[in-house]
Amino acid sequence: MANETVLMKGNEVIGEAAVRAGCRYFFGYPITPQNELPAYMAKRLPEVQGVFVQAESETAAINMVYGASGAGARVMTSSSSPGISLKQEGISYLAGAELPAVIVNMMRGGPGLGTIQPSQSDYFQATKGGGHGDYNMVVLAPASVQELADLTMDAFDIADKYRNPVMVLGDGVLGQMMEPVAFKERQSAEFVKDWATTGKQGRSKPNLINSLYLDPEKSAEHNEELHAKYMTMAKNEVRYEVKNLEDAEVVLVAYGMMARITSSVMNKAREKGMKVGLIRPISVWPFPDEAFEMALPQAKAFLTVEMSKGQMVEDVRLAVNGRAPVYFYGRTGGVIPSPQEVMEQLEAVYAKVQGGEA
């Protein structure tokens, strides 16, 4: 399947993309709706001399990831919301010890055991630091099976580039969908991991993977260094897609599956002569503030649509910063807002804008 297009299920595509990006280690624990991914890895990794381990819990899995990453490997784990909650401690330690890893969250509805149906209600947890301490990680939100492949591959490079965990944040449906995908031939950058614990092997100084700084000055210094790195990530790793912003009076904002639905709503609205645009954040951290600057001279209002009770909308408000009203529509519990519902919301906002209300 070098470059030709094949029909594959989302979760399996993540696995194949990871293998092609050089990932040889996968540690995971079963949870719906991502089970196809560990199953794919259990079959695929041994073919490339890789290792799959089913861990005793998500907590153990993320700590195996920590050990393998600290040992210098490209490594991945995946789960869905309740399991991702268990991984938060480990993600914080990965960030603190500056270890690269790719973590996939195929979000399902919460809180608690919630539902196995799709959701986008882990946005806060993913982008605001679900674990303890001051840290950030790049969070990529694919909207198609093709993007699952591309962003998974990119995630490994971003992780190695900054020595930091990267999350691929998909809403449950994406992993279950079958769509055509072409795995792009790509040259992954070579990363020299001279910091990894491999056994000293002649090195005069041992390598140490650690996040403990008992001296307050040293701890503060470590935090400053991490922060500087996060600021570089925030500058370099912004990704988004915009549509029809040139004359848009109302701009829809959505990511992942919701962006596909809002995009089709936008097209219908355009057919009706409504001046509607779309901003689709692809990196939800860093958040694409600059897309809002492109929209703002014309835009009279924003409508954010999510499968949550309103999480990303807070970042939209920060980006817009009071310069236009920001409206919100969301469904939860595994219910996906229909195009008709979104259209009704859009028409209501549009009417306010036309009436000079917004």
Partner: protein, 250 residues
């Protein structure tokens, strides 16, 4: 002048932070001697846990990873799967291994991970100031069992070595003590065996070591050594519970 005693080469010159009379230092030395004698410093990777030994990485001149509380066996699993030719050991306290990290320890043993665990059983949480550990003896006073540990509320001490010896994946399981020279010698022999078995790819190995915590036991170093013998050893019998040659010893 003839040198008759020296620090193991695989240990650093750093002055340890352990309290006077604490046997953590002895356990460190035995591991250091083992690494030297087997000539494996260049391919050994240690995993430090959370507890008084959190800074273990400062005392060994080998590659190290610092794990979160209880997760050292999972971290060691990740390392060993990437570098199967390396020698991987964890160094964990009884709060770390027998409480918050019980699942990780049991499942590493179940999988037969080819790693070695050095398990320090001092019947208390040292670093956080003397709370009850799962290994605390019945009647033993701690800050969280001020009247002594009572079976009715807090159950009875957990015997990890005996438990782990029942698992097919565990190759070598032993418990020894650090309270006097003959016992230290036996402990050393067990530690060396466990590393040797790992070198031979035999599977999961663990050596539990009865250790002192004079500071939180509220005893002098000498009284502490006594107490290991008079009280701890009654609850925690010494010996090998499983060997690759003979299997589980009942």
């Amino acid at each position: 002048m003839k040198q008759i005693f020296a620090k193991p080469q695989s240990m650093t010159d750093k002055v340890s932070h352990y309290c006077p009379g604490c046997t953590h230092g002895i356990a460190h030395r035995l591991v250091g001697e083992t690494i030297d004698e087997l000539g494996i410093a260049d391919r050994t990777i240690g995993v430090a846990s959370v507890g008084c030994s959190v800074l273990a990485y400062e005392y060994f001149d080998v590659d190290f990873q610092q794990a979160s509380h209880g997760r050292a066996p999972a971290v060691a699993t990740g390392i060993k799967r990437v570098h199967p030719e390396s020698i991987v050991f964890t160094y964990q306290g009884d709060g770390d291994l027998a409480s918050i990290g019980t699942a990780e320890a049991i499942h590493a043993a179940m999988r037969g991970e080819n790693i070695t665990i050095i398990f320090i059983n001092n019947a208390i949480y040292g670093m956080t100031g003397g709370q009850m550990a799962p290994t605390t003896l019945l009647g033993q006073q701690t800050t969280t069992t001020p009247e002594g540990r009572r079976f009715e509320e807090m159950g009875a001490p957990i015997r990890m070595a005996e438990m782990l010896a029942t698992l097919d994946g565990a190759a070598y399981v032993a418990r020894f003590s650090l309270h006097d020279i003959p016992n230290i010698t036996k402990a050393k022999r067990a530690i060396k065996k466990s590393f040797q078995y790992q070198l031979e790819g035999k599977g999961f190995t663990i050596v539990e070591l009865l250790s002192t915590c004079p500071t939180n036991w509220g005893m002098s170093p000498n009284e502490s050594l006594e107490w290991v013998q008079t009280d701890m050893m009654k609850v925690y019998p010494l010996g090998e519970f499983k060997t690759p040659e003979e299997g589980e010893k009942k």
